[in-house]
Amino acid sequence: MIALLLLGIFAGCTGAKETGPSETAAPGTGGEAQGPDSVKIGVVLPLTGPASSTGNDMWWAAQLAAEEINAKGGVNVGGKMVPIELVAGDTETNPDKGVEAVTRLVQQEKVDLLVGGFSSAITYADSVIAAEEGVPFVITGASAPVITHRTDIDTSWFFHHCPTSDDYPYWTLKFVNEVVRPAINEKFGFPEDRKLKLAVVYQEGKYGAGVLSGVKKALEENPDWKIELVAEEPFTRSETNFQTVLTKVKEAKPDVVYPATFINEQVPLVTQGRRDVGLNTIYLAVEATDDPDYYSGVGQWGEYSIQETRFSPYAVPKGPIAPAVNKFREDFKAKYGKYPSMMGAGTYEGVYIAVDAIERAGSLDKEAVKAALAETDLPEMIEAMVGGRITFTEDFRESKFQLYMSQLIWDDSAGECRPKIVWPDQLKEQDFQLPDWYEPGE
């Protein structure tokens, strides 16, 4: 028994690391010209700890991108073709360890550039090292805008390729105003200028509070949207019993409920809201829950709820990026046995963005690469971008995602709900439906 237990702890501690060594994903390509022998990219990610499955996904996606690029001859650095070498920096899902990981990548591995980053709290801590040491960092997974807005460090080294907690509510509420509100007004014969009542239920802390402030900002900046906030209810992280807080929300008579949660909170929240409390409304969701675990957990209770997303495990947006999305999904599955997550998609693009900047800089000089990153203008790849291009804003170096909305529809063959894209028009698969059981706020 003890042996078994010891085996368990041993395996638990080392198992995840096996998947994340600093291996070179490169066929060697020689060249006579002077210059570097490889481009060394540090990938900052949680290979161990609570977010290790996300970290593995990011690592695999980065490797896939590196292999594709190396198979085409590598990176053109000032006329010399050199391979990409990826080095993993494991944050262990912990801000302190993240600082250690980035320090190691920068000082010992001497990477040319950093890609990745997961969790705002961890990235907030570890990106400081990149700023101090002057290493460009393409951040693909921290949603707090403060990451590039802070003034205590030189953030000009950071390029934020990830929607922020200001972006989620902006697109979600734009959709609610354009599609959900008119649908409710039409079905119940309400006047066209009736304001839609919105309730926000949010996880305490940076993430949830960030979404709430994003909601307020979006409503303030868009006074023409006919939406009013009628309830804002915080809850502590990892809450499991939402009946009482939803009873309170129900008294505020909302037309739509917007929870800012993680999967383990969204599942009981939606289940208890629909099944126990009888809050028969449209539940919105932040992209963090667009994950296979969410669909299996929420089951039938998630039907007709709305999922905001940028890269979904089960839905492919129509339009120009569809072939690239399908190819990435299938290549990833063929290699690693499962479909990639949204975090994998962002990291994959991050490697391409880094390589593009290095090629345009013509050298690995960090100032030159930083300047080239600021000038990035790539066609969108596997995530839809505003205007179809990946560019970074001048003020805070943020790329602008075209987020889209899926509606969960029951799928008999899966025995679960599946997301169907309903907005915007250029990406959608079908129209938004207001379910028969829906009850408006008044």
Binding site: M1, A51, S53, Q243, V245, I263, V267, D276
Partner: protein, 291 residues
């Protein structure tokens, strides 16, 4: 001010939340009563109970409620093994050793589960999830009714066991005075094993029921309930089963009334304020002895 219907709803959700707390706290207090051992890894037994139920229901394909019973049986054995291998060798050597052993157990159980089942969220679908009973504005799911009845039944069974059977009386005797029980010819080490097995099975029962009620769980799901269970048995009085029941109900109700009147972010704070108040006026807890 809230109307009476709303207050009844909040009470209902409080009692329901209290049931899971009671199952976890009763097991913890049972073990403490007999062995005076503080097992900080008790929450991991709840988490393991949920995972074993998941394994039996999903992989073996048995009915979820049968799966919970299987998980209880397995966890009883795990509990006995834990007592025999980890706690008996250090019994009486000081509280620090108990704390270190139980912290080690937390690491072992969490990593073992993460290794076997990964760190993704898991869920178990109840076959009764569609069945609800209208209760005023509330729909009472059949699963919740089962949880409340099962909790009541199991508490009744423990009461009968402790008052009507020789073994149960021996357990109570050991709990009251270990040395005297030994002198009366009671095999206290056997009672230790029994109480650890029973306590672990109760935690597994709580974990399985909680999972089936529509939750997502992962290898860290035992941590928060474990802290709450400790607060509950301190409120109720260490080692007292009626105390664990009263503490669990009080805790569930306090959390939900706080969520309604102050906001859900106040749930944890309110419970610990309650703990402070109880300890100020009754340092040994509501049902604690005069030690």
């Amino acid at each position: 001010m809230a109307d009476i219907g709303i207050l009844l709803q909040v009470t209902l959700w409080g009692v329901f939340a209290g049931c899971i707390y009671i199952l976890l706290a009763t097991g913890l207090t049972l073990i403490f009563g007999v062995m005076k051992v503080v097992n900080f890894a008790h929450g991991e037994f709840l988490m393991l109970g949920a995972f074993l139920s998941y394994f039996a229901a999903t992989i073996l394909g048995v009915h979820p409620y049968v799966a919970i019973l299987i998980s209880m049986a397995v966890m009883a054995l795990v509990g006995i093994a834990t007592e025999r291998l980890c706690f008996r060798p250090i019994l009486g050597t000081g509280k620090l050793n108990e704390i270190i052993v139980s912290l080690g157990l937390i690491l072992i159980f969490q990593n073992m589960v993460a290794h076997v089942w990964g760190n993704d969220g898991k869920s178990i679908r109840s076959p009764y999830e569609d069945i609800t009973f209208p209760l005023g504005p509330v729909s009472m799911p059949l699963d919740y009714v089962i949880i409340i009845l099962a909790t009541a039944l199991i508490l009744l069974a423990i009461h009968v066991f402790q008052t009507r059977t020789g073994l149960g009386r021996a357990m109570r005797a050991t709990s009251q005075n270990r040395e005297a029980a030994k002198l009366m010819g009671i095999d206290v080490e056997r009672i230790d094993m029994l109480s650890f097995g029973l306590g672990s099975a109760l935690a597994a029962f709580g974990g399985g029921l909680w999972a089936v009620s529509g939750q997502v769980f992962n290898y860290q799901s035992g941590s928060v309930p474990a802290i709450k269970a400790f607060a509950i048995i301190i409120i109720g009085g260490l080692g007292s089963i009626p105390g664990a029941i009263a503490g669990g109900l009080l805790y569930g109700l306090a959390e939900n009334f706080a969520a309604y009147f102050l906001g859900a972010a106040w749930k944890d704070a309110t419970s610990f304020i309650l703990l402070t108040i109880v300890l100020t006026f009754r340092p040994t807890g509501l049902f604690g002895g005069e030690e």
